[in-house]
Symmetry: C2
Subunit: 377 residues, 2 copies
């Protein structure tokens, strides 16, 4: 059976990128390695829409988040955390481990933190040193209004630090124009690479704060990464084959054009939501982002069992809810190297499986609605 990956990370990797990974390994301190890292850094600046440095770390996305926290905040400094799900809670865990004084602004799973909530928190806490937010809350499918957050934070001394691990490259985000000081992303989502690399952009405002914050930590100290970045180098042996392969996937983004990429993800996401609704299902997120569609499991159905059936019978791997959301939602990723026809096929597999378990879906309704939306009808 043919198998297809629709989890919101890792995502499918283009064939030309996979083939890069099969090439012989080179020395990471050669002139060629520096030229590759320079090219990747420039292409990341394009994807991040920033003129600021974007450093490459060899770690999961969480490592990038820890780099932001330890480099930007001293022990006991105040941080406003905007949390709308599991990845907001990841910020919370990292902030707690590093003894931040965290002001939690939290909404229930499925909801989005609003700019008004942030405005109030900033007014109540003028001594906050940073605001931590999530671009795509992949545990619920919510996308946040980072542009509005940026406008509010820009008027304060605080930094805006955003987890864009799964959102960046799948939904519009303009780091410089929107006032994002630190953006963290990862390789295994819209950037079309296997897991293993994290990327962190650092604005001038952030760099000044970092330079006046006492050093703690070593591997995730952004000072070290920034100093080496200026020489197109890294402080520690990087996952250099992943960096070389990342170049291939980034070239694909540059060829398509970032605005075309955002528009394509938006169009596919809208079609997916139309298909889901036509099947009699509901979209879980109140403010859905374009990287994935999260579907509420209808009452009376065993959500986990249905996902297993979709995988076993049709070869499509969607993601279940995490932790206490398990069985309650289905998460279907459409970021990265996934096009409209792939998503149409995934919806078809879900529709067939729902019909097989006796859920009242009219077979063909979902895929037809997807097609109509995609065709602009």
């Amino acid at each position: 059976m043919k198998t297809r990956l629709f989890t919101p990370g890792p995502t499918p990797v283009p064939e030309e990128t996979l083939l890069e990974l099969a090439k012989p390994v080179g020395y990471h301190r050669s002139a060629e390695a520096k030229a590759i890292l320079k090219e990747v850094s420039e292409d990341l600046q394009y994807v991040f829409q920033t003129a600021n440095p974007v450093v490459t770390l060899t770690s999961s996305g969480t490592g990038g988040m820890e780099a932001a926290v330890t480099s930007c905040l001293a022990v006991g400094e105040k941080a406003i955390l905007l949390s709308a799900g599991r990845w907001g809670e990841r910020w919370k865990g990292v902030l707690k481990a590093h003894q931040a004084n965290t002001v939690l602004v939290e909404v229930p799973y499925g909801k989005a933190v609003t700019p008004d909530m942030l405005a109030k928190a900033l007014a109540d806490h003028p001594d906050a040193k940073a605001v931590f937010a999530t671009l795509s809350e992949t545990s619920t499918g919510v996308g946040h209004d980072i542009e509005a957050f940026g406008k509010l934070v820009a008027n304060t001394p605080a930094l805006l630090v955003v987890d864009g691990i799964s959102g960046l490259g799948a939904m519009e985000c303009r780091c410089d124009a929107w006032g994002v000081d630190v953006m963290v992303s990862g390789s295994q989502k819209a950037l079309m690479l296997p897991p293993g690399l994290a990327f962190v952009s650092v604005s001038e405002k952030a760099r000044k704060k970092i330079e006046t914050t006492p050093v703690r930590g070593f591997y995730f100290d952004l000072r070290r990464a920034l100093a080496k970045w200026a020489e197109s180098d890294t402080p520690f042996t990087p996952a250099n084959t992943l960096i070389k392969a990342q170049r291939a996937s980034l070239k694909r983004i540059r060829t398509e054009g970032i605005e075309n990429l955002w528009a394509r993800h938006a169009k596919v996401a809208a079609a997916c939501r139309a298909g889901v609704r036509a099947m009699g299902l509901e979209v879980f997120a109140e403010r859905p982002n374009n990287g994935l569609t999260v579907i509420t499991v209808p009452a009376g159905l065993d959500g986990s069992a249905i996902l297993k059936a979709v995988e076993k019978k049709h070869g499509f791997k969607l993601a279940d809810g995490q932790d206490n959301m398990k069985g309650k939602i289905w998460r279907l990723s459409h970021m990265g190297y996934v096009d409209a026809f792939d998503v149409l096929a995934a919806l078809a597999a879900l529709e067939l499986t729902l019909a097989e378990v006796g859920f009242g879906v009219k077979v063909g309704s979902g895929v037809a609605a997807f097609q109509q939306s995609y065709a602009g009808k």
Copy 2:
């Protein structure tokens, strides 16, 4: 021109491992992914010669070192550091960043720390919580007598924490029998994988210390890694394609047998040293390890220029000295997926280049001596 990699990390990767990296990416929380991690963990236990957990971290080797320091030592606790070069200094940097009270036992580059020095330090500092050592000091080619260190540390409450990033798998090391509490290794040396993974073993003695040490850090907190290890899982999205590929390289080690692997590295290293000496050159390390041969650049020669010529004319990439050793030594790696014939060829390229620049070497003397040593003549 054909190019060949002889740097002490990254090292050449077997073809079957590279091809694993070109396969489609899978979901990292699947039953298949857990089965792969379990297999890799068991094979790592074999390579480490330990019954203790060996956790896999997605990071450079330095990340593994930071995990050991932050998990095992509280702020201000005393550590004895045995330093014989740049990688001892790496421990020093990590210990300093995490505010350890470091007692430095240091020898000049090229020398090895002796068991007597450690015995004295332990006697002078009975309150030391850990001893930090380096198996292969790859900046100088020195190998340390970890077995003797282990016997001394076992009689104290301190932990023995060893950087085996480049030595493990290239020279005899029996973690359990020798009393190593925490062994850190990396993927891109004798374990025959590209960079991106670090591995850390944790003894019962170390686990008890970790459990009573206040948490600091998040990504490198070994508590989290150990808890997930017990479920054949990881706390954060791992570089799962590297893990899958690591399985292929570890199978190669299991097929050969760890003692055969050690013996082969020892035989090739002895032949390499014989060849070097027959060419009228000197081995830099007073206690050479079997992972690489470090050669003293003869007075009057431009060491860096000669290495560049070897690479440009013959395609062999050897490593220069690092930092203030640049131009003073040549480092020729023979760990991992490199056999006697590869090393013979590298020596031949160096010999030819030395003859070309007018160094008084009798062409053929080095390769002949290598052959004779290897043949046991």
